[in-house]
Amino acid sequence: MNPRYIRPVVLCGFVLLWQLVAWALDSRYLPSPLAVLATLWQQLRNGELLFHLGVTLLRVLVSFTLAMLAGVALGILMGSRKTWDAWLDALLILGLNIPALVVIILCYIWLGLGETAAVLAVALNKIPTVVVTVREGARAIDHELLQVAQVYRLSRWQTFRKVYLPQLYPYLFGAARNGLALIWKIVLVVELLGRSNGVGFQLGNYFHFFDIQGILAYTLAFALIVLALEATLLRPLERHLNGWRA
């Protein structure tokens, strides 16, 4: 099959299967995709979905950017300098393993129930995971190629852009994909605990009443956005950057 059609076919197949299973089980814990779509549509029409999704996406965007910038910088530092690694490693492990809940609560308490606290809490949860991934990449850097850059006196920026970064791409893509997913998971908890809008806030409501249909409708909306992002941005970018491997 032409690979361009595989993805849509898989998605349709998935929805179809879901519909069939939903019919067969006829359980309120597995609403049919049609019902979920209906809820989605209704929420879309009355504007709630767009509002909450918009708010959440904004938070995701800001904290994603923050976390990637800080995480990549720290990851490269720790991966390329042994001393920095030794100094920061223990704190990294601590940061990595503090429960999200703790960070969120402390942020809310110290910074108040505001956007700053919310976004910061998410970013803080995310940064260590980016560092861990990128650090591995920086450790695996090919020094022979860096020597080329050094001998020919490339500027720091050129060396970074053309020699260093391309070796990190696989790690960056991994970190970005996982990062988006993790942030989305944490933003929900953050919103559940202390915001008055956003998808997490809505999901909290739905969860309280066990409205799985509503939960799935919001999940679907976010998943569709990520799928679109994959198809229009991440995948083409990755294909472009990996052209030389073919």
Binding site: I105, R195, S196, H208, F210, D211
Partner: protein, 308 residues
């Protein structure tokens, strides 16, 4: 002895009662064996009930009404009348509902919380104030709200009774309680909001268990109502930081013990439901619509005090 599995918050108020019940072997005396499943969050208990891991949990009748409308046959028997209160600082200058305008008001339980909806209806009715739009409601987890209130980040907070009790011990004042609100809305009766929730089908299949459990629970309540020594025994469970908090919690609990649940109360619930439906709309009720389904309340048991 027949086993009955009950899901309760490990450190919630319900567990105090269960502890007393177990300690005095009231379950055996009523022909059942109580099996307590401790849980760590309110949502965990609903998951447990729906997943079939427990037979009985504590929840509220709006939740039951909504689940029934969605095809679940849950039913409820009153457990407590104690609900929340709006707490303010003594020097906050908030005297009337109208003073809440533009204030930061912490709300526990989310925008669909019953107390919050009733408060909104009441404010609308008496002060013409739309709290949702004209105050600044902040929805957050109850313990977080308490802390933020004590830090002065909030002007007022609507919280569940045992959290409110702690705030009162910390020097805050109740500005208005939920029973006040209910009364103000013209509902002239005691109104239980939370209760034991179980499947109607299961209850019909095991009427003795339900009866036994509810009787045992009633007996436990009576002990807690009368005996101070019993409370001393429970004290470690309550994690009361001070005597004041301890007393507040004890008295609050006692005040919430339902005395009677008859037609009058059911009517009150139906009226309240109408108000909730108006304020909360579909977000709150889902597919449920007034009038309130009669079967929401379990009729297989009556409180002895109003048997007549």
């Amino acid at each position: 002895l027949e086993k009955v599995r009950v899901g309760v918050l490990e450190f919630g108020t319900v567990n105090w009662e269960m502890d007393t019940l177990k300690y005095h072997k009231l379950d055996e005396q009523n022909g059942i064996e109580l099996d307590i499943m401790p849980l760590a969050s309110a949502d965990a208990s609903t998951v447990a009930l729906q997943g079939g891991a427990v037979d009985i949990i504590v929840s509220d009748w709006v939740w039951v009404a909504r689940q029934r409308a969605a095809g679940q046959d849950y039913t409820l028997f009153p457990y407590s009348n104690a609900v929340g209160a709006v707490m303010v600082k003594p020097d906050s200058g908030i005297k009337t509902l109208a003073d809440l305008k533009g204030k930061k008001l912490g709300v526990a339980g989310g925008p669909s919380d019953k107390s919050w909806l009733l408060l909104r209806a009441y404010a609308k009715q008496t002060a013409g104030l739309d709290l949702q739009a004209e105050a600044e409601p902040q929805f957050a987890a109850p313990p977080l709200l308490n802390e933020l209130m004590q830090r002065g980040d909030l002007d007022a907070v609507l919280n569940f009774w045992h959290y409110a009790a702690r705030l009162q011990a910390a020097g805050m004042q109740p500005f208005i309680t939920v029973p006040d609100v209910v009364k103000g809305l013209g509902i002239d009766s005691e109104l239980p909001l939370v209760g034991w929730v179980f499947s109607e089908k299961w209850a019909n299949g095991h009427p003795d268990i339900v009866k036994g459990f509810l009787s045992a629970d009633y007996a436990a309540k009576q002990i807690l109502k009368e005996s101070d020594t019993e409370w001393e025994r429970l004290r470690p469970r309550m994690k009361a930081e001070s005597d004041t908090i301890f007393t507040q919690l004890r008295d609050g609990f006692r005040a919430g013990i339902p005395i009677c649940f008859g037609d009058r109360e059911k009517q009150a619930a139906a009226n309240t439901f109408k108000i909730l439906a108006e304020t909360g709309g579909e977000t709150l009720l889902g597919t449920a619509k007034p009038p309130l389904d009669n079967q929401v309340f379990w009729s297989g048991f009556g409180l002895p005090a109003c048997a007549e």
